[in-house]
């Protein structure tokens, strides 16, 4: 389900509106993922604490949204643009790709929650496609 020009425009427009809250979105989305899908906690056993809104979640949420920002900037070729991140996830982090969908859903819940007027059905479908393609880009080097 590749991105049309309309999808790319919608994603960029939405990102422009939420970018300055990206860190907060990331932290909130991660907190929700860890609570709603507790199996995802298994990837963070090395964290000193896992509190909603705690330092670990804030720091990591910022990192994740940095990746999303990168993906938006490389939206015309996500596979190439996410190559390094894919290698990181494939060889070091080894996150099961099924989890990308879970975080993507939580990101969308947070955006709907914080930006209800901007997250129209049209923006929703474009972002859902985009995050799906980001997940594909991240899984590229897995095998």
């Amino acid at each position: 389900m590749s991105l049309t020009e309309k999808d790319k425009a919608a994603v960029k427009a939405l990102w422009a509106k939420i970018a300055k809250s990206a860190d907060a979105v990331g932290a909130d989305a991660l907190s929700r993922m860890l609570l709603v899908y507790p199996q995802t906690k298994t990837y963070f056993s090395h964290w000193p604490e896992m509190k909603t809104g705690g330092e670990s979640v804030k720091k990591h949420g910022k990192k994740v949204m940095g990746g999303v920002a990168l993906a938006v900037s490389k939206i015309d070729n996500l596979t190439a643009g996410l190559l390094e991140l894919s290698e990181l996830h494939a060889f070091q982090l080894r996150v099961d790709p099924a989890n990308f969908k879970l975080l993507a859903h939580c990101i969308q819940v947070v955006i709907a929650n914080m930006f209800p007027n901007e997250f129209t059905p049209e923006a929703h479908v474009a972002l859902d496609k985009f995050l799906g393609n980001v997940a594909l880009g991240l899984s590229e080097k897995y095998r």
Binding site: D28, R32, L35, V36, V109, N113, P116, H124, D128
Partner: protein, 147 residues
């Protein structure tokens, strides 16, 4: 056997007392048909589903969204045995409507997103988790009678 904490029971009751069933039902079903267009396969008789605007203003979609929320309310009233309460609904979806049960999760995700957009700050991660658990139980109950 699903066990609910006091927090979960209270939270889910609270969510349903706050949401407008017509608004949420219509918005969630519309989003499902727009974001996951293959779900339109089940609504061939609904008329114009040609684009997002048509779907969002389609009166049959709105009416059916209300039916779905009615089903969720039934689950709310039978929280201690949703599986039993939904046995007939599960048979209906499996044998008469022949809905691929993977679609239930798609609608559940859209419901979560719509409720998140309606409840603002009160839709905390803990509230979200309780609602997600409720929907997961409903989805499992709807899948139960498929064979």
């Amino acid at each position: 056997m699903v066990t609910w904490t006091d927090f979960e029971r209270a939270t889910i009751q609270d969510i349903f007392s706050k949401i407008d069933y017509d608004v949420v039902g219509s918005a969630a079903l519309s989003r499902c048909l727009i974001v996951y267009p293959w779900t339109q396969r089940y609504f061939g008789s609904f008329g114009n589903l040609y684009n997002a605007a048509a779907i969002s203003s389609n009166p049959r979609v709105a009416a059916h969204g209300r039916v779905v929320l009615g089903g969720l309310e039934k689950a709310l009233q039978n929280m201690d045995d949703i599986k039993q309460a939904f046995a007939d609904l599960s048979v209906l979806h499996s044998e008469k409507l022949q809905v691929d049960p993977d679609n239930f999760k798609l609608l559940a995700d859209c419901l979560t997103i719509v409720v998140a957009s309606q409840l603002g700050k009160s839709f905390t991660p803990e509230v979200h988790a309780a609602f997600a658990k409720f929907l997961a139980v409903v989805v499992a109950a709807l899948r139960k009678q498929y064979h």
